[in-house]
């Protein structure tokens, strides 16, 4: 087979990447917007200030438009394991299936049912019970993320299982649920969700402030976003770092590749930027900016820690698992890591500057900042995409770390043409859905929030569905 031949595995990987990245544009926004809307509604419930109800409805509409497409694309996510990866599914189902089933029963059912109650329950439920429905929806989304990440983390760092007749069987559900990887990944994802939510609320609020309309209203929106964003972005930087340490101990290749670290080093400097140095033939960058000892600290928690190099890890893996290439794509890993981390820092700086301007009562006047916040709406989407590219492609050539290779995991009964046609169908569908979603989000983010009706605030009609 020539290296250029496109195989079923390649296409199945393209499809998985497409489905997962697309799904994860919508999911984290739900994870973040749901609790923010819940906080807005709670503030209204406690204070009776109309502005908070208007904000609840305004951002609630964005939440709903986004929620629908998240649900729709989630189904593909569940089905595609069996469709494209039947060998994988049979291999891991005895472990991986359990958290997926639990997710449906314990989490997705909660969010899907209570979002309906929230949308249509404004007039039919007491304000207190209605408030509870949005909190339960938010809780459902957070629990849902946890169980999905338990499943994914098992692929990164398998625990609590034994192999029986070539298939993994669960032996310890607590080990599975308390997998260090899963816990850190969950905190990382929840914080990412909050950053998505706050970035969108801040950006949209700043756009309205730029126009100078509903200033009182959107200053409150911006304030809420900033109060949550400053700690969320700051904690995220240290959680991301802590995540790196866990990856270093379980998936050395992923870290070595994301740092383009060809040979074992101690202490190791962190490369901020480099030209060249991305292949075994050309391991030394022709130009680089490096912070001494920083990589040692990030990867091991000690400024004098040792980080294994790609070459050494490759030799070790060949000894353990036989001939083969065990290196992920170094250049892509390196830049994915940097785009994600640098956007993470940028989002923290934006939140910090915004909070400072707000305290100085200069937020509305600082037009440069307002524009920055509008542009920054794109940042979390880009950062999360590269975060998943790093996580999933950094595990290659394994689909389950050290247990099953991606090249052995696809569906033998599914032909290249079938995968290709389904990629075509989904690409077309996703483009149409993406365009419509973007147009709707943009339109509803730009309208003036309507004033409340004359009658009591609690009797405002349901958000249309």
């Amino acid at each position: 087979m020539t290296p250029l031949a496109v195989t079923t595995v390649d296409l199945a990987r393209v499809q998985f990447a497409m489905t997962s990245i697309y799904h994860f544009l919508f999911v984290p926004l739900t994870l973040g917007l749901a609790p923010l809307v819940a906080i807005m509604q709670t503030t209204w419930y406690r204070t009776g200030v109309d502005a908070w109800l208007r904000l609840t409805k305004f951002f609630g509409t964005l939440l709903l438009i986004n929620f629908a497409i998240g649900v729709a694309t989630g189904l593909v996510q569940e089905f595609q394991f069996g469709m494209n990866w039947s060998v994988y599914s049979e291999f891991v189902g005895g472990v991986f299936g359990a958290p997926l089933a639990i997710e449906g029963l314990a989490a997705f059912a909660l969010e899907a049912t209570f979002i309906g109650l929230w949308i249509f329950g404004w007039e039919r439920l007491s304000p207190r019970v209605h408030l509870a429905t949005i909190w339960l929806t938010a809780a459902g989304t957070w629990m849902s993320a946890y169980f999905i990440l338990v499943a994914n983390s098992w692929m990164q760092h398998p625990v609590g299982y034994k192999m029986v007749d070539g298939e993994a069987q669960l032996t310890d559900v607590w080990a599975l649920l308390s997998n260090e990887f899963a816990v850190i990944a969950w905190v990382h994802t929840i914080l990412a969700g909050l950053i998505f939510g706050t970035t969108v609320v801040l950006g949209v609020s700043c756009w309205h402030l730029l126009r100078g309309r509903n200033v009182e209203l959107f200053r409150r929106g911006a304030a809420l976003a900033l109060i949550v964003a400053v700690p969320a972005t700051l904690i995220q930087l240290s959680v991301g770092n802590r995540f790196g340490e866990a990856v270093t101990s379980a998936q050395g290749m992923k870290i070595a590749a994301s740092e383009a670290q060809w040979n074992t080093c101690q202490p190791c400097g962190f490369s901020l930027f480099q030209i060249g140095g991305f292949s075994a033939q050309d391991p030394n960058p022709s130009f680089s900016v490096t912070v001494p000892r920083l990589l040692s600290w990030m990867a091991t928690g000690s400024f004098n820690g040792q980080v294994q190099g790609l070459n050494q890890l490759q030799a070790q893996e060949e000894k353990d698992f036989g001939q083969g290439n065990y290196m992920p794509r170094v250049r892509l890993m390196y830049w994915s890591m940097r785009v994600m981390a640098m956007l993470g820092v940028a989002m923290f700086l934006i939140a910090a500057v915004g909070a400072w301007l707000y305290r100085k009562r200069r937020l509305e006047k600082a037009r440069w900042f307002l524009w920055t916040a509008v542009v920054a709406i794109a940042f979390p989407f880009i950062a999360a995409t590269f975060g998943w590219i790093l996580t999933e492609m950094g595990r290659q050539p394994w689909i389950v770390q050290d247990l099953l290779k991606t090249s052995d995991a696809h569906s033998p009964s599914v032909s290249t043409a079938m995968v290709a046609s389904s990629i075509g169908v989904f690409a077309l569908l996703y483009i149409v859905l993406g365009v419509v979603d973007f147009v709707l989000m943009r339109r509803y983010a730009r309208i003036d929030p309507p004033p409340l009706r004359e009658e009591s605030a609690a009797a405002v009609p349901a958000l249309s569905y």
């Binding site: 189904l75 039947s86 599914s89 359990a98």
Partner: protein, 353 residues
């Protein structure tokens, strides 16, 4: 009963729950082109399922996850083997899901028409393909000795499985019509009742034919005796006849119970015929996938059994409460008429009023 059999039954229950609940959602979607006579009535129909359709679809997500967890080999073979059918289902369900949220986001008539039809096409199509897919489990598909699907998409379509698809569409249309008689009022409610009456006889014929064929297919393809498959099949027929009688007697509530029993009996008949296999192989019957051959380890099954024992009752309680909250009938569309709307009832022969 061992854990493996319990999970086989539970998965049948999950599919029953999905068909019972999403069945009337789909039915309402199918009746969208024929029942309403103006935009307000269409909105009423959407609103009749608006608060609950997402909760109903949860049962599909759970059925999929439970199959993956309890029977990895079944999930793997079925989902890869029925590849193009499932691709079609996903596309249909996706356009249907977004139609609920997006339709109301613009007043443009063309926009609303597009998403209304997306809902109808999604409902008819997904119901049909689910019927075909489940019937194929029993009718049998070509499997290799390793349990891999060796056929192509055309193997999934034959007289029996197509009849299954049509029977699901027909049954859901009736189920949705009966549901609308409970949730709407005025003229729309009258037209829903009329639609249910018109559907009664053809649905009875089609579904009875399917249930009878299923007993035969279980005998011929799955090496089963007529008993016990004939039991749920008979219950299905009796419940359907009762549903029809109750529709004509204008006993909406009981008619809904009876049509719900029929839907459950449809699933129960297929799964009873399927036991003790999960996917029949044809022509090489020996390659069939069995419950014990496809099941996950005992420990994993114990874990999800405990979780299901705790969570399923809780989910049923809060979903039941949701139906209680939204029990009030919706206006029949008399309010806020849109005079410019053309009358487009009668497409499928259901006359207005």
């Amino acid at each position: 009963m061992d854990l493996e059999t319990i999970w086989f039954v539970l998965i049948a229950v999950l599919w029953s729950g999905y068909f019972l609940l999403e069945g009337f959602d789909f039915g309402v979607g199918m009746l969208l082109p024929v029942l309403p006579r103006n935009e307000a009535e269409r909105s009423t129909m959407f609103e009749s399922i608006g608060p609950v359709w997402d909760g109903n679809e949860v049962w599909l997500v759970i059925a999929g996850g439970a199959t993956f967890a309890a029977f990895p080999a079944w999930y793997a073979t079925m989902f890869s083997g029925f590849y193009l059918a499932l691709l079609l289902i996903l596309v249909l369900l996706i356009v249907r899901v977004v139609s609920f949220e997006w339709r109301e986001r613009s007043d443009s008539r063309r926009w609303r028409t597009v998403w209304r039809w997306a809902n109808t096409v999604g409902s008819v199509g997904a119901a049909f393909v689910w019927g075909v897919a489940l019937a194929n489990l029993l009718h049998g598909v070509p499997l290799s000795s390793k349990g891999d699907f060796t056929g192509n998409v055309l193997d999934l379509f034959n007289a029996y499985t197509v009849l299954a698809g049509i029977s699901v569409v027909a049954l859901f249309a009736l189920h949705g019509g009966v549901y609308l008689t409970l949730r709407t009022s005025g003229e729309l409610c009258e037209r829903a009742a009329l639609a249910a009456r018109r559907l009664a006889v053809p649905v009875t014929v089609i579904v009875t034919a399917f249930l009878a064929s299923t007993v035969a297919v279980a005998i011929n393809r799955n090496d089963r005796d007529a008993f016990p498959t004939v039991l749920p099949a008979a219950i299905g027929v009796v419940a359907l006849v009762a549903a029809v009688a109750l529709v004509f007697a204008r006993r909406g509530g009981w008619a809904f119970v009876a049509s719900a029993v029929t839907v459950v009996a449809w699933v129960a008949t297929v799964f009873t015929g399927l036991y003790p296999r999960v996917l029949v192989s044809h022509p090489d019957f020996g390659n069939s996938l069995t419950i014990s051959g496809a099941a996950a380890g005992h420990y994993a099954l114990s874990v999800i059994t405990v979780v299901a024992a705790i969570c399923v009752p809780i989910v049923l309680i809060y979903q039941g409460w949701t139906y209680h909250v939204f029990r009030a009938r919706l206006g029949g569309g008399e309010s806020a008429p849109r005079p410019a709307e053309p009358v487009d009832g009668g497409v499928a022969g259901v006359p207005s009023g």
